[in-house]
Amino acid sequence: MLEIRIDRKRYPDRGGRPHLALSGLRLDVARGEFVCVVGPSGCGKSTLLNIVGGLDRDMDGRVTMNGAFPEDVGFMFQEPRLMPWMSVLDNVLLVARAGDAARQRERAIALLRAMELGDVLDAYPTRLSGGMMRRVALARAFINEPALLLMDEPFVSLDSPTANRLREMLVEQWQRCGASVLFVTHDLREALALGDRVCFLSAAPGRVVLDLPVELARPRDAAAPAVDGLYQALLARHPELLGGLASAESGCDRKAAVASGAQAAGSGASGSDAGGQAQGRAAQ
């Protein structure tokens, strides 16, 4: 179980004044669970991942996984961040845990083949398209079969078919290795298509204002009617979250969220199962 308790995270803004990025953020991720985090721009989604990933430890609070700071981590960034001087295969092997080199190599090749990159194992990343580079980054994230996978809008700015294929590959690999996943995105449809839960962050200082279980059967499609129904219901029940207006200061707490949801429901939200789910669990 991953437990995130961030009391405060500040960093200096452009003028050098302290900016409160996260405040009172509490989030748990069960073993093997896929949790998506959505929220308006600048609400601290990437900051949250950087803290959990150990890239930023300057905060008040604690992050633990089974009692210790998570070390067995895979991280996929917004950009592929491949080493341009290394071949595709070497990029994956770079982060492979020390051990039987031949076995790691075999595993990396199998993983890259599963990502449909078997023909470009020895190519440099500069020779690859954007989608292929993301697949290499995805293979790199899974090479150690990590206990925790952190993903920071990894499929942003890809065309829709490429992003869909990458999501399929991600789900395949996740189901195979059973990692806990914390997936940050600003695309609610993507979050609903991927996550077991979707957590909404308020505007800065970010905290979880809605924790929504997604009980749709897999495999899912971002454009499928069930996902679309849930999306529409959420739009109706929590317009302030989707409009990026939620904030701790504006009173977007449990009561407000429920009240706005009730109002929206009364104004004609679809009455499907998805509509019921859209109520979610308002955060602490």
Partner: protein, 281 residues
Amino acid sequence: MSGKRTAAVESPVPMMARARGQAGQDASPPVAHPGRRDAWLRLASLGAFLLLWQLGAMVADSRTLPDPLTVFARIVDETVSLSLPGHLAVTLGRVAVAFAAAMLIGALLGMAMGRWRRLDAFFDAWLVLGLNIPALVTIILCYVWFGLNDWAAILAVAINKIPTVIVTVREGARAVDPKLLDVARAYRLSRRTTFLRVYLPQLVPYLMAAARSGLSLIWKIVLVVELLGRSEGVGFQLNVFFQFFDITGILAYTLAFAAVVLIVEAWLLRPLERRLTGWRA
């Protein structure tokens, strides 16, 4: 997640392969390879230089500017007598040691100054001073302070080169991509692996630039050092030739040594650079 697999899978972008494929289908006449064309141009350039030299020698007094054949014959004579190889070996040894010391110390200081802003602020004035002290001053001071010996000579050469290596490598260290270092941290790579496989490769273009400019600078300074205070080496020999107004000897030794440096550049440094930065092609 809809979207057919075939639609989502992009092809790699091997531009050269594509270009080759297109050329295979194309009926247009073959075009000379750019590398081969350049080789011809270089050869023509060398021929033009020799021709101009020959014309100059015909116009000038043969003692002031001997013709190329006379100089070449002198190189052969000096080689057969083993005088030229002996002096060349001594000078090359000094160049190698001074070059290695300057690269090592300069690279370490450059990396540190590029990495730590305060260290950079502290040493920046020293660096400016080092860049602006004339080589001759350093050489004289080293001979006065440490005596007329090989170590003083090598120290003087290294001191002259270290500041330029620092400046180049510092720029490289400042340009290191922090996002790639974040990858190393996120995956918990060891410090050693991070340095050798993530940090250092980003400095390679800067290190190679420092090495190539360093080699061309160092051998010139070594000659001055030898001329002023050593009793063997190409620089010493040039001084002897100067005393006797032996222009043929000066040209013979200079050309022989420049040829060796060019060979080191072409057979060692360039292939090494191609190997280390081949991914940029």
